[in-house]
C-alpha cells in the first residue's frame, strides 16, 4: 500500500516533465496534437501506474523503476550510425525520441503507395488528418495503459499510411535508438500504422539501447488493418543492460485481414511487451510469434498477449520460445477471449522456455476464456533444460561442448522462425540471432 502511494505520488513528476517539454514545443501549441498530449498527461497523473495487485502485472514489479526521477534526454544527435540497415529496406530512424532525417529515407517513399510522416505533419495533411486525429483521440480515451499515455504525451510520433491495394515492395525499417551518457532518461515513441484495404506491408523495428545507463523507453504502436490487408511486423530488441522498455502494440483488424508479429528480444533490464489484438470482422488471422535470449546476469522479460476473438470464423496462432540464463526471468501471460457469438474459432497458443541455470526462471500463465461452444482452442507451456543425452551424442561426433550447446539452443528456438517459411526477414532475424547464442 505504501509503495503504491509512493509510486502514485511520483507520477506527478510527469506533469513537471511535460511542462518542460511543452516549453520546447513552440508552434504546435495550437495544434490538436498538443491538446491530446495535455490530456494524456493529465489522465496519467490521475490514473497512476498499475500496482502489483493488478493481475496483469503480478509477475513484473515496477516499484524500483517508478521510484526513478526521470529526465529528458539531451536533444542532440550523436551522428553515429544507429543500426545496421535491413537489406532492401527504406529507413526511418529515431534517436532519443527524435526523427533523424540524415538516417531516414523519407524521400524514397512513393506517396502514391505510402505516406510516412511525423504526427505533426500528418495533422497538416488534408488526406490523412481526420483519420489520424480520430485514432489519437481513441488512444487517449481508451488509453490501455499508463505507459501508452506516456508515449502519447512525450513522443514526436510517426504515421504510416499504406494506400489501398498496394503491395509495398520494400520493408520499412524503423530504428529507435537511445544514446548519450545521462542516466534516468525517459524516451517515448508512438507509431500509428494504417494499412488500407487490400494492401500488404512489412515493418522491421530495431530497438537499440545505450549501455551502462538506466533509462525508460515507452513504445506505443497502433496498427489499424483494413479489410483484406496484410501487415507483418518484426522486432529486433537490443536495449542496454540497464534499459527498461515498455512496448505496447494495439492491433485492430478488419474483415479478412492478416497480422503477423515476430519479435526477438535480447536486451534490457526490464522489458514488458503488451500485444492486444482485436477482431472487428470475420475471416481474420492473427499470428503472434516471439523469441528471446536472456543471457544477461539478471534480465526480466514479460510477454503479454491478448487476442480478443469478438467475431466468428477467425484464427489466432501464438508461439513464444526463449532461452534464459543466470538469474534472469521470463514471464508469459497469454490471454484469449472467445466471445459468445464468435463461433468456428481456431486459437492456438504455445510457449516454452529453456533454462540454462538453476537460478533462471519462467512464469507462464495461459488464460483462455471461451464463451462460444463451437471452437477449437488449445494452449500449452513447457519448461526444460538442455538435454544432457543430446549434448553427449553431439559431442561424440566431435563437436565441442560450446558448439553442441549452441546447436541445441538454436534447434530449440528455430521453431518460432520456422512458422514463417519463405519469409526473408524471419531468416534475417534467425541468422542474426545465431551470433548471439
Amino acid at each position: 500500500m505504501a509503495v503504491q502511494e509512493l509510486i502514485n505520488k511520483n507520477v506527478d513528476q510527469f506533469q513537471a516533465l511535460f511542462d518542460l517539454y511543452a516549453n520546447r514545443l513552440n508552434g504546435i501549441k495550437d495544434s490538436p496534437y498538443f491538446r491530446i498530449k495535455q490530456d494524456a498527461v493529465r489522465h496519467l497523473v490521475r490514473k497512476g501506474f498499475p500496482g502489483r495487485k493488478n493481475e496483469d502485472w503480478k509477475y513484473t514489479n515496477l516499484t524500483q523503476l517508478l521510484k526513478t526521477r526521470f529526465q529528458h534526454p539531451a536533444r542532440q544527435v550523436s551522428g553515429d550510425q544507429l543500426s545496421q540497415p535491413l537489406p532492401n529496406s527504406v529507413r526511418i530512424s529515431f534517436e532519443n525520441g527524435l526523427l533523424v532525417k540524415e538516417q531516414s529515407d523519407l524521400d524514397k517513399f512513393d506517396a502514391s503507395e505510402v505516406e510516412v510522416m511525423t504526427v505533426e505533419d500528418a495533422l497538416k495533411n488534408a488526406t490523412v488528418k481526420d483519420k489520424v486525429l480520430l485514432e489519437l483521440e481513441n488512444m487517449e480515451q481508451v488509453g490501455v495503459s499508463a505507459f501508452g499515455l506516456l508515449s502519447l504525451a512525450f513522443a514526436q510520433g510517426l504515421v504510416i499510411q499504406v494506400k489501398k491495394n498496394t503491395r509495398l515492395s520494400n520493408p520499412i525499417h524503423i530504428t529507435y535508438a537511445s544514446s548519450g551518457s545521462e542516466k534516468n532518461t525517459l524516451t517515448s515513441q508512438l507509431c500509428l500504422v494504417m494499412v488500407e484495404s487490400g494492401s500488404k506491408a512489412e515493418i522491421f523495428q530495431s530497438i537499440i539501447g545505450k549501455k551502462d545507463q538506466s533509462y525508460l523507453q515507452t513504445i506505443y504502436n497502433r496498427f489499424v488493418i483494413a479489410e483484406n490487408a496484410n501487415l507483418s511486423v518484426y522486432k529486433w530488441q537490443e536495449e542496454g543492460d540497464q534499459g527498461n522498455l515498455i512496448y505496447t502494440t494495439e492491433i485492430n483488424q478488419a474483415h479478412g485481414s492478416t497480422y503477423t508479429d515476430l519479435s526477438l528480444d535480447l536486451g534490457g533490464k526490464l522489458v514488458r511487451n503488451n500485444l492486444y489484438a482485436t477482431h472487428l470482422g470475420q475471416n481474420i488471422t492473427t499470428n503472434l510469434y516471439g523469441s528471446f535470449v536472456l543471457s544477461g546476469q539478471k534480465q526480466h522479460l514479460d510477454n503479454q498477449t491478448f487476442v480478443d476473438h469478438a467475431q466468428p470464423h477467425c484464427q489466432s496462432n501464438e508461439l513464444y520460445k526463449g532461452i534464459i540464463d543466470h538469474y534472469s526471468k521470463a514471464v508469459f501471460n497469454g490471454k484469449i477471449i472467445v466471445r459468445p457469438d464468435a463461433q468456428k474459432i481456431n486459437a492456438f497458443q504455445q510457449n516454452a522456455g529453456l533454462l540454462l541455470s538453476d537460478h533462471a526462471s519462467i512464469d507462464s500463465k495461459p488464460q483462455l476464456e471461451i464463451f462460444a461452444d463451437d471452437v477449437r482452442c488449445s494452449h500449452g507451456a513447457t519448461i526444460g533444460q538442455l538435454d544432457e543425452q543430446a549434448l553427449y551424442y553431439l559431442m561424440t561426433r566431435g563437436l565441442e561442448r560450446k558448439q553442441a550447446t549452441k546447436m541445441l539452443q538454436s534447434a530449440f528456438i528455430q521453431e518460432v522462425f520456422a512458422e514463417l517459411e519463405e519469409d526473408n526477414i524471419a531468416r534475417y532475424l534467425q541468422d542474426k540471432l545465431s551470433t548471439y547464442l
Partner: protein, 254 residues
C-alpha cells in the same frame, strides 16, 4: 591402435568392468558378446567418454595417446566413432546441417579447409547412395520420428561421412529387421580397410554372419571370459552362455 589394460569401471557404487585387457590392431574387427548386464555397453560408453562412468583402475591408449585424458569431443576428433544402441532424437537440427558442422569441426582440427555447402551436399549424397539410403533423410531433423532401422542407418551414414579410425558399434543390430540388418552390415563392410578397426558389440551371433569378425570376445561379469575366432560366436549361438558360466564357476573354484 587401441590398448586396454586392466580396465576397472564403476557406475556409482557398482563395479561393472572388473579388469579388461584388450589389444586392437589396425584393420581388425573385434566382436564383443555376452549376456545382458555383462558390461558390453559400458565398455562402448567408456571408450566414447560418457561421464556417468568412473574408471577406477587401468588404462586405455589410443594411437599412443592416453584416451582417458581426452574429452568426449576430442576422442571423436581423434578418430573414435560410437554408433549408439539408442541414437538420440534432436528436433530442429537437420541431418545435413548436423553433418556439415561435425565434418567441418573435424576438418578444422586436422588443419584442413572447411567444406562449403555444395561440397558437403555432394559428399553426403554420395555416401547416402553408397549406403542405399533415401536422400530425403538429410532434410529431416536428426533421428526425429525415425524408425529403429532408419536411426541405425543414420548412425552408419555418420560413420561413413566421418571416416573414423576406430568405430564402436553398440548393439547396432538390435531392433533391426533382416533387410535393415543387411544394409547396416554392408555399410560397415564397405568401410572395412587395413587402417580402420571395429568393435562390434552384440548380443546375437546373427550380425556376425554379415560382419565377419577377426576376433570374438565373451564378456561375463565384467571380465573377458573367453576369446576366440568367429567359431566362438557360432558355439554361443548353438549352446547359449550357460556352458560358459559353468566353465567360469569351475575355474574360479579351482
Amino acid at each position: 591402435m587401441l590398448v586396454i589394460k586392466d580396465l576397472h569401471v564403476s557406475a556409482g557404487e557398482l563395479e561393472i568392468l572388473k579388469g579388461i585387457d584388450l589389444v586392437i590392431n589396425p584393420g581388425e574387427v573385434h566382436a564383443i558378446m555376452g549376456p545382458n548386464g555383462s558390461g558390453k555397453s559400458t565398455l562402448a560408453h567408456v571408450l566414447a567418454g560418457k561421464e556417468d562412468y568412473e574408471v577406477t583402475r587401468g588404462s586405455i591408449e589410443f594411437m599412443g595417446e592416453d584416451l582417458l585424458d581426452m574429452e568426449i569431443d576430442e576422442r571423436a576428433r581423434a578418430g573414435i566413432f560410437q554408433a549408439f544402441q539408442y541414437p538420440v532424437e534432436i528436433p530442429g537440427v537437420s541431418t545435413a546441417q548436423f553433418l556439415k558442422s561435425v565434418v567441418n569441426s573435424i576438418r578444422t582440427e586436422k588443419g584442413e579447409e572447411e567444406l562449403n555447402a555444395m561440397e558437403m551436399l555432394k559428399l553426403m549424397r554420395k555416401k547416402v547412395k553408397e549406403l542405399g539410403m533415401n536422400e530425403a533423410l538429410l532434410k529431416r531433423s536428426l533421428n526425429e520420428g525415425f524408425s529403429g532401422g532408419e536411426k541405425k542407418k543414420n548412425e552408419i551414414l555418420q560413420m561413413a561421412v566421418l571416416e573414423p579410425k576406430l568405430a564402436v558399434l553398440d548393439e547396432t543390430d538390435s531392433g533391426l529387421d533382416i533387410d535393415a540388418l543387411r544394409i547396416v552390415a554392408e555399410g560397415v563392410n564397405t568401410l572395412r580397410s587395413a587402417e580402420r578397426s571395429f568393435i562390434v558389440v552384440t548380443h546375437y551371433q546373427r550380425l556376425l554372419d554379415y560382419i565377419v569378425p577377426d576376433f570374438v570376445h565373451v564378456l561375463y561379469q565384467g571380465k573377458i571370459a573367453k576369446s576366440g575366432d568367429k567359431n566362438l560366436a557360432l558355439k554361443l549361438e548353438d549352446e547359449g552362455y550357460d556352458w560358459l558360466k559353468d566353465e567360469i564357476s569351475v575355474s574360479s573354484i579351482a
